[in-house]
Structure formats: structure tokens, C-alpha cells
């Protein structure tokens, strides 16, 4: 069914999966869309760097500095290859996906070729993560531009029927997620990019959920800017990636000012380094970027196509299992081949917190809440949902444990009088 071969062996790469939780339960980690677990090779690479090669980069002229710089810049090469970037210079290390999105939204407030102002429009979608909403709210509020939204269809897709009304000559930016972290929806990014480019708009794609799951090709995506975050791609926290077409990055004004991003500084004026350094002020997340490099190599070694197939197989199996729970409502597309591996659902009669807590006492980790997607929740008339999310290390047995746990939850809260547990 498309599962990764030797899954048991692969799981041994992730030390935390052996963790025993309260009550002697084994960990069933179904919160990977929130953050992924880390394979030993990522941890070991970071330790090796810290214990043997640690030094600041670029500025240091000594052996450790050369080693550290080489490792850091090699990580940039790995990222460039992973996303098929035409040039390594187009790969900028940020602290997370949120910073990447803010980098674009923040700099568009200042004079420049792409500046957004009164009369201009920015288009986002109702399924965005808050990190792809708030930066644009701040930008449009601050510049007097207008923020507009793609709506969603009942089954959790973008409502493309309004595209002609939304994307017009006034549109300066279209920013959307590649894969929804709540609905799982995979968006037709290339198609929307094509429409946006027809009116000369800038296309920003949030690939935070796509990068872990899909083979990425930033050029084929049609986007001008693509961001993702390290900790969801089995890398460490503290590092994210912004890729942008060279012309765009060269045209954007600087974001953070400081060491490393300058060409020269005088009291009168400063000039800025060429990309990527122009957007990397201060000491970058050195060991984190190196850890991310190891993470992406790990994923590439397994193969993104194989990981994608695994996710689809697990998602299909989970959707089948969830369908057996009376009353459950899954939000987003129900066809596994059309979606990513995050599945948010509503179990009427039990609040998602209570679902998550009951599951947690059985060792099953899911997320409950609005998943930083309040507008999407509002769209579907729910305050919050429970979300399971799988990854390359997820097994069918873990999905079974979830489904059993949900059946137990219903009976625990007396929704299933016949088999009530108390």
C-alpha cells in the first residue's frame, strides 16, 4: 500500500520513538505537522559540529572558522538541491517559516520596485496559517492597501470560481499555502501563480507543510518566493528557509540590518552585500543550518517520492479508520491522493481538548485547538478541532491505536451507551 519498506528499522533512526510515557505507554506520535521528530544523524551532526568545529562563519579566518563556514555553506547547497533552486545564492536562512513570510511582507512596506501602497491589493486564502495572515494584515494596515481572501469550498478546497474577481490589475501580491496544515488540501500553486503573474503580482508560497511531504521544485511551482521551516523536515528548531528568485531578492529592500549583511558601513551610509547575505543579518543559525542540511540529506536518501507515497498510504488508512467512528466529521478533502497527511476532525459531544487528553493518557500525541488557522475553523463553523498528523515514521499500527483511542474516548464520555466504560 505504498508504505516505506523496513519501517521498523527506519524507526530506530529516531531515538524518541522508543520513549516510554506515563503509565508505561509507548509513544504514538501523531503530531508531526506541528513538529517532526529528529533522526540520530541530525543530532549527531550537530553534536559533532559543536564539539569539533564550532566557530563563527564568514568572518573567521582560522581553521575552525573555515570548517564552520564550509559546513554552513554546504548546508545551503543541500537546501538548494532539495528544492531545486537554480542558484544557491537564492537560498536564505531564516529562523523559521514565519520570519520568511514576514521578511517579504515587512520589506514590501518600503520604497522599491514591489512596494505595496494605497490602492494595491494583497490576496491570501482562508486556509492560511496565522503566519501567512498576520504579516499581510500588518502590511496592508500599515500601507493602506487592501487584503483580500480566496474562500473555501465545502470540501476544503480553494474556491477558484472567484479568481477573476480576486486577482486583478490591483493585485500586488498573492500569498498562499502549498499544503494546508489544517485541511490537508494540496493547492494548485502553479495554476494560481500563472494567474497572478498575468497581472504582474508577486507570488509567495508557504511550503511549511509541503517541504516535509512532497518533492519540491521551486521553479516548477511558479512561485517567486517559497518559505519553509526546518523543524518540520526532521531538522532542528531555530532555522527556516526562504528561497526567492534572484531578481526579486535583489529588488527587495533590506529587512534586518547588521553584521554580515553589509558591503560597507560608513557613518553616512551603508551598502549591502549581495544575496543571500543581504538578508542574513547577524550570526546565522549555524549549527541549526548544518543540522537542517543533515535532515534534508536524510530525507533525500529515503527519497521524497517514497515519503510522499508513505504519507498517502498512511493517510488513506487513517481516513478509512476515522470513518468507522460514529458521528466524526473530517474537515478537508476525503481523498488521500489529493491531500497531505494532517487530518483535522470534529467528534461531536467531546471537545478536542478532552479528546487529546484521553488519547494522551494512552500515549497518543495529537494536537487539539485551532492549529493557528482560526479563519479556516470559523469557515467550517468550529471553534477547534483535533488533528492527527503522520510522517515517514508513522505505522498503520499507530493509526489503529488512534482509532481505538477515539472509540474509547466516545465511550468514556458516554456517547456510546452500550459499551460505556464508566
Amino acid at each position: 500500500m505504498g508504505l516505506l519498506p523496513d519501517l521498523d528499522l527506519l524507526r530506530l533512526d529516531f531515538p524518541i520513538l522508543n520513549r516510554e510515557l506515563a503509565g508505561g505507554h509507548a509513544l504514538v506520535y501523531l503530531d508531526s505537522a506541528n513538529t517532526s521528530q529528529k533522526p540520530q544523524v541530525v543530532i549527531d551532526t550537530m553534536v559533532d559540529h559543536l564539539e569539533r568545529h564550532n566557530a563563527n562563519v564568514a568572518r573567521a579566518m582560522h581553521q575552525l572558522g573555515a570548517e564552520s563556514s564550509a559546513a554552513f555553506e554546504a548546508a545551503r547547497d543541500i537546501v538548494a538541491a532539495f528544492i531545486k533552486a537554480p542558484s544557491r545564492d537564492e537560498v536564505i536562512f531564516t529562523k523559521n517559516a514565519s520570519e520568511g513570510l514576514n521578511l517579504v511582507a515587512n520589506t514590501l512596506a518600503w520604497p522599491g520596485e514591489w512596494a505595496v501602497g494605497v490602492g494595491d491589493e494583497v490576496v491570501i486564502t482562508e486556509m492560511e496559517h496565522h503566519s501567512n495572515i498576520v504579516p499581510w494584515q500588518l502590511l496592508t494596515q500599515r500601507t493602506g492597501a487592501r487584503l483580500r481572501w480566496f474562500g473555501l469550498t465545502e470540501d476544503g478546497r480553494l474556491d477558484l470560481s472567484t479568481v477573476d474577481d480576486l486577482i486583478t490589475e490591483r493585485t500586488k501580491v498573492v500569498s498562499l499555502t502549498w499544503v494546508s496544515n489544517m485541511l490537508g488540501t494540496i493547492n494548485p500553486v502553479a495554476e494560481i501563480a500563472r494567474r497572478a503573474h498575468e497581472v504582474g503580482a508577486l507570488v509567495v508560497v508557504d511550503a511549511s507543510q509541503a517541504a516535509p511531504q512532497l518533492p519540491l521544485d521551486v521553479v516548477a511551482s511558479g512561485a517567486d518566493v517559497v518559505v519553509f521551516t526546518g523543524h518540520k523536515t526532521v531538522g532542528p528548531t531555530g532555522v527556516g528557509v526562504l528561497w526567492g528568485r534572484r531578481e526579486i531578492l535583489e529588488a527587495l529592500p533590506p529587512f534586518l540590518g547588521g553584521g554580515e549583511m553589509i558591503e560597507t558601513v560608513t557613518m553616512e551610509r551603508s551598502t549591502y552585500a549581495p544575496i543571500p547575505h543581504k538578508f542574513e543579518a547577524g550570526t546565522p543559525p549555524i549549527v541549526e543550518a548544518i543540522g537542517l542540511g543533515a535532515a534534508l540529506e536524510y530525507l533525500s536518501h529515503i527519497g521524497m517520492d517514497a515519503i510522499h507515497a508513505h504519507e498517502q498510504a498512511i493517510t488513506a488508512y487513517a481516513l478509512e479508520g476515522l470513518a468507522t467512528i460514529p458521528g466524526i466529521r473530517v474537515l478537508g478533502p476525503l481523498d488521500a491522493s489529493q491531500r497531505g497527511g494532517a487530518i483535522a476532525f470534529d467528534l461531536p459531544g467531546v471537545h478536542p481538548h478532552d479528546v487529546a487528553t484521553v488519547l494522551d493518557t494512552r500515549g497518543i500525541a495529537v494536537r487539539a485547538g485551532h492549529h493557528c488557522a482560526k479563519p479556516a475553523h470559523a469557515r467550517f463553523g468550529v471553534q477547534s478541532t483535533t488533528r492527527m498528523s503522520s510522517y515517514l515514521y508513522t505505522t498503520p499500527a499507530e493509526i489503529d491505536a488512534l482509532i481505538e483511542g477515539l472509540a474509547f474516548t466516545r465511550s468514556y464520555f458516554g456517547l456510546d451507551p452500550v459499551t460505556a466504560a464508566r
Binding site: H351, H353, T357, V358, D360, G369, H370, Q383, R422
Partner: protein, 164 residues
């Protein structure tokens, strides 16, 4: 982690039959608190007496949230309505200490009443803020009312205890 220690029968009873639920007139102050993490919300109104040492005349609320936060709101109303504000604030402090005690604080049944049932919540750190949501809203509304601030039903109040 003992599920039954968390979901004590008293809590489930309050959840299923919440006391004093629904927003009522008259009121001095209304606040709206949100748990930013999960989106749970409570709108809460307080009415104090005009005495020199005011008494909690009424507390009413509309809560959107989990069993723990809804039960907490219900228990809260039972505990504070009719009490002098000063005394109710002491109860609030005791409840806070119980919740933040990670299971080491012994609950005083005399003053906390049904709220002792929340002792088990303290062992579930991720649920502590659920139990505290209505209490923080009440404390906020009460101190506004004491300071003679007008009702502000339509301005969402920042949730100052969130995310702790």
C-alpha cells in the same frame, strides 16, 4: 496519568449541567477572554453590590470550551456569588495555587467546595490553563468593576494569563 483523577464525576456533572450559564442583566462589567493556544473563549459578566465592602451579586457567562473550562466556569459561579469580593478573591488565589502546584498543593475543601475536584487537573500541565480561563476572566472583570470602569461588552479584552 489517571484519567478519572482528571475527569472527576463532579467536573463531568458541572460540564453536563452548567450552573448560572448564559449572559444576564444587570451587570457592571463584561469581559471576553481567549485562550490563544486553543481558541477557547469565555464572555463573563459581573455585578457587584454598592456596599463599601462590595459583595458579588451575580456572575454570568457564555463559554465555548472543553469540559474542564466549562466546569470551572460553573463551579466558579457557585463559589463566588454571594460572597464579599475580598473573600472571593481569596478563593481565587487558593484555586490558582492549587492549579499551579503540579499536584503538590492540598486543596482546602472548606473554602474551595466543588473546586477541590480540580486537584487532578494540576497534574495535567496542558489543561491547567483550561481550568484557569474563567477564573482569570472573573478576576479581570471584578477588578475593573472595583475600579468603577464601565461595561465594555464589545471590546475584546486581552487575555493576560494566557500561555503560562
Amino acid at each position: 496519568m489517571d484519567l478519572d483523577a482528571l475527569y472527576q464525576q463532579i467536573i463531568l456533572d458541572h460540564y453536563r449541567s452548567p450552573q448560572h450559564a448564559g449572559l444576564r442583566e444587570p451587570f457592571d462589567v463584561e469581559v471576553h477572554h481567549v485562550n490563544p493556544t486553543c481558541g477557547d473563549e469565555v464572555t463573563l459578566r459581573v455585578k457587584l453590590s454598592d456596599d463599601a465592602e462590595p459583595v458579588v451579586r451575580d456572575v454570568s457567562y457564555a463559554a465555548l470550551g472543553c469540559s474542564i473550562s466549562q466546569a470551572a466556569a460553573s463551579v466558579l459561579t457557585e463559589l463566588v456569588i454571594g460572597k464579599p469580593v475580598a473573600q472571593a478573591l481569596v478563593v481565587q488565589q487558593e484555586f490558582l495555587a492549587l492549579m499551579q502546584g503540579r499536584g503538590t498543593v492540598v486543596a482546602d475543601e472548606e473554602s474551595l467546595g466543588d473546586a477541590v475536584a480540580f486537584a487532578g487537573v494540576a497534574k495535567f500541565p496542558s489543561r491547567v490553563k483550561c481550568a484557569l480561563l474563567p477564573w482569570m476572566a472573573w478576576k479581570d472583570a471584578t477588578s475593573s468593576a472595583m475600579n468603577g470602569q464601565p461595561a465594555h461588552p464589545n471590546s475584546p479584552k486581552e487575555n493576560h494569563h494566557a500561555r503560562r
